[in-house]
């Protein structure tokens, strides 16, 4: 489904159902150099179980054109503008990795627009290694190799995929590889630079969920636990998976989101 946000078309996948503004909106935000399809095994289910799902392609990602945004705050501003464009007064925000920072920043900037906040594979701050940043800055394919390898549990390629016949790491690598030049570097730099104070986290009043992968090599489980500890009243759900838990453990991740959205 197409919207116009900040002057440019913006794509959002609606989970195979027509978007129904009367239902509770769930807006899902992908990570660095990815698109809406990372939510394939959660978004379609939620859309068929009472939610109005909008899994967005951030600007300059997937099917959404527009300028590359260089900060988490700018992406969060776009996300709030997206809610306006979609006619959504209040939504549950679900973000993965960089998307978790974008949804967090949106919740801090416009708390009245956010009914719930689910942070999947999160870390605040979200430090990015120098070698990773440098490879991304040079648009080196090695940066995608790093994102793919560290973005999954160790040796995930040697394990049975929960999606029959699919190479999770192959699909992830190719999705990264489709991203526009400069996007990964900008996304990683934005993650590295975003440092909200702990008092800001403590001020969040809406229900918050942190979903942390026990085998996450990119945002380690401890980081997700720490985020939950700094947000009063928030919940932590641990999942036996790496950073790409939506595909590595699709049912467990869906279960965590479904339970959180039903509360």
């Amino acid at each position: 489904m197409q919207f116009i946000v900040e002057g440019y078309p913006a794509f959002a996948y609606t989970g195979g159902r027509a978007f129904a503004p009367s239902k509770e909106a769930v807006v899902m935000v992908h990570g660095a150099a990815f698109d809406h399809s990372v939510w394939q095994w959660q978004s379609r289910y939620l859309a068929h179980h009472g939610h109005a799902v909008l899994a967005v392609d951030l600007p300059a990602h997937g099917r959404s054109p527009g300028a590359i945004r260089t900060s988490v705050e700018a992406l969060a501003g776009w996300l709030v503008a997206f809610l306006d464009a979609a006619g959504v007064e209040k939504a549950a925000l679900v973000g993965h990795s960089m998307g978790s920072l974008v949804t967090l920043a949106a919740a801090l900037a416009a708390p009245s627009r956010v009914s719930r906040l689910a942070l999947v594979g999160t870390s605040v701050p979200m430090p990015v290694g120098d070698a990773f940043l440098a490879a991304a800055r040079d648009d080196s394919p090695v940066a995608f190799d790093m994102e793919t390898t560290w973005g999954h549990a160790r040796n995930a390629i040697l394990s049975t995929s929960p999606v029959p016949g699919t190479s999770l790491m192959g699909a992830s690598r190719q999705l990264n590889g489709r991203s526009r030049g400069g996007v990964l570097a900008a996304d990683l730099a934005a993650c590295q630079a975003y440092r909200p104070p702990n008092e800001a986290l403590a001020s969040l009043a809406m229900p918050v969920l942190s979903v942390a992968g026990k085998r996450d090599q990119m945002t380690p489980w401890k980081a997700g636990k720490s985020v939950a500890e700094r947000i009063p009243g928030s919940r932590l759900v641990s999942i036996d998976a790496g950073h790409s838990m939506m595909s590595e453990a699709p049912r467990a991740t869906l279960g965590a989101l479904r339970d959180f959205l039903a509360r």
């Binding site: 195979g16 040697l158 995929s161 929960p162 699919t166 999705l175």
Partner: protein, 432 residues
């Protein structure tokens, strides 16, 4: 600035492990044979979610099966693809690829140097369903370019042609494919991922007859279709099966559902569901036993084939040998570039004395088996003009690099000295 990143497991490791965790139900380390048609739903909501592709999992073994999935995921890993679909045969894999991409009015440009079964499908059978193919000489990139039409939806060739042993210029064809925004499908049965990976060379889709080197034992029939996930189906309106709502699956737009795996989603949800040419679990199990040793076996196949090619090239009863290891082969340099570990354990040659000498030669062999297969642990021999390619007329045979005297060998894993002894004796018999 040079960057160095994490290294993926080597192909030898992938061949043994990729796609398989110890069985979660029993701890079995070997891949269990899940000999079941269907899978119990935990509850009605889970059943509906599986049917509607809201959650992944197994429903019915025509669509997917845990044993078959291990083979699919191992092939996807070995080929560096986003996923794979195992099929009842290599022919079924080719048909599945074509039927997923096009219908009536579609057009294919294909190498003239193809396995006879693939040629039959394209030349005689698919036109009945409104799909036309233009055959071109594999080496003539200009001919591929000239054969392109507005309706062209696929380029197709074999990594190493069978039986003429010509080497497909995959990077060259990939440039044509990209320029016309048409996917390139490569049948890599002869090379296997142990010798080269077509997706890395620029192809978009790969098929194999898994009956051949992937298995190595010649005891099952199977195929596989691998998607590289690199082709952008949404760039124009030429692939509506992937970019338009499909009424046969709740109006699903496959390219929206998955940015990289739209092709495989449609192929599984339509092609396997409706055409039904799926792989049996026990077949996947058998193929996996062979696949574990693929890199080891291919090295020996190649070593033996190279020795035999040179032996035949120096034999007075042989007029001509077709094998890319020989400097006289027109694709020698290309083969070295694309397949540095060797390109082919298949070779063909022309016997002095034509068809009659060919018959005497084949009947005098005792170690080589006379049969219609390649890629077995056992060495094999056949006379293509009277068997695998007998439906082709003389012009088509010539285009495929076959003469009435062409003999094809598939070199196995026996000791090369024993194979050469058998060939020597049969060559003497052929001259009588």
């Amino acid at each position: 600035m040079a960057h160095s990143g994490p290294k993926p497991p080597h192909p030898d490791t992938l061949a043994v492990h990729a796609g398989q965790s110890p069985d979660p139900a029993t701890g079995a380390r070997a891949v269990p044979i899940y000999q079941t048609s269907s899978f119990v739903f935990p509850d009605t909501d889970a059943a509906a979610a599986l049917f509607n592709m809201e959650t992944p999992g197994h429903v019915y073994s025509r669509l997917s099966n845990p044993t078959v999935s291990v083979f699919e995921e191992r092939m996807a890993a070995l080929e560096d693809g986003v996923g794979a679909i195992a099929t009842a045969s290599g022919q079924a894999a080719l048909h599945l690829a074509i039927a997923t991409l096009m219908g009536k009015g579609g057009h294919i440009v294909a190498s003239a140097s193809l396995y006879g079964g693939s040629h039959n499908l394209l030349e005689y059978t698919l036109p009945r369903f409104g799909i036309e193919t233009t055959f071109v000489r594999a080496r003539d990139l200009g001919a591929w370019e000239r054969a392109m039409r507005p309706a062209t939806r696929l380029l197709f060739g074999e990594s190493v042609g069978n039986p003429s042993v010509d080497v497909l210029d995959i990077p060259g064809l990939a440039r044509i494919a990209e320029a016309h925004h048409v996917p390139l499908l490569v049948d890599a049965t002869v090379t296997t991922p142990a010798l080269g990976r077509p997706l890395e060379q620029g192809a978009h889709l790969v098929t194999h007859s898994a009956t051949k080197f992937l298995s190595g034992h010649g005891i099952v029939i199977g195929g596989v279709l691998v998607d590289g996930g690199r082709f952008d189906w949404t760039a124009d309106e030429r692939f509506p099966t992937l970019t338009e709502p499909y009424e046969g699956f709740h109006g699903m737009v496959f390219a929206e559902e998955s940015s990289t795996s739209a092709f495989l989603l449609r192929a599984r949800r339509e092609g396997l569901r409706d055409f039904g040419a799926c792989m049996a679990p026990v077949t996947a199990f058998h193929i996996l036993q062979g696949l574990e040793t693929l890199p080891l076996r291919m090295a020996r196949h190649i070593e033996n084939a190279s020795r035999i090619a040179r032996f035949l090239a120096g034999h007075e009863a042989v007029e001509r040998v077709h094998h890319p290891d020989l400097e006289t082969h027109p694709d020698h340099a290309l083969a070295r570039r694309l397949y540095p570990r060797g390109a082919s354990a298949i070779l063909s040659f022309e016997l002095a004395g034509g068809r009659e000498a060919g018959k005497r030669f084949i009947e005098a062999l005792t170690l080589f088996s006379h049969l219609a297969n390649i890629g077995d642990a056992k060495s094999l021999v056949i006379h293509p003009a009277s068997t695998t390619h007998f439906r082709m007329d003389d012009a088509a045979l010539a285009a495929a690099g076959i003469t009435p005297g062409t003999v094809r060998l598939s070199i196995g894993l026996e000791h090369a000295d024993d194979l050469i002894e058998d060939l020597s004796r049969a060559l003497r018999a052929a001259r009588k």
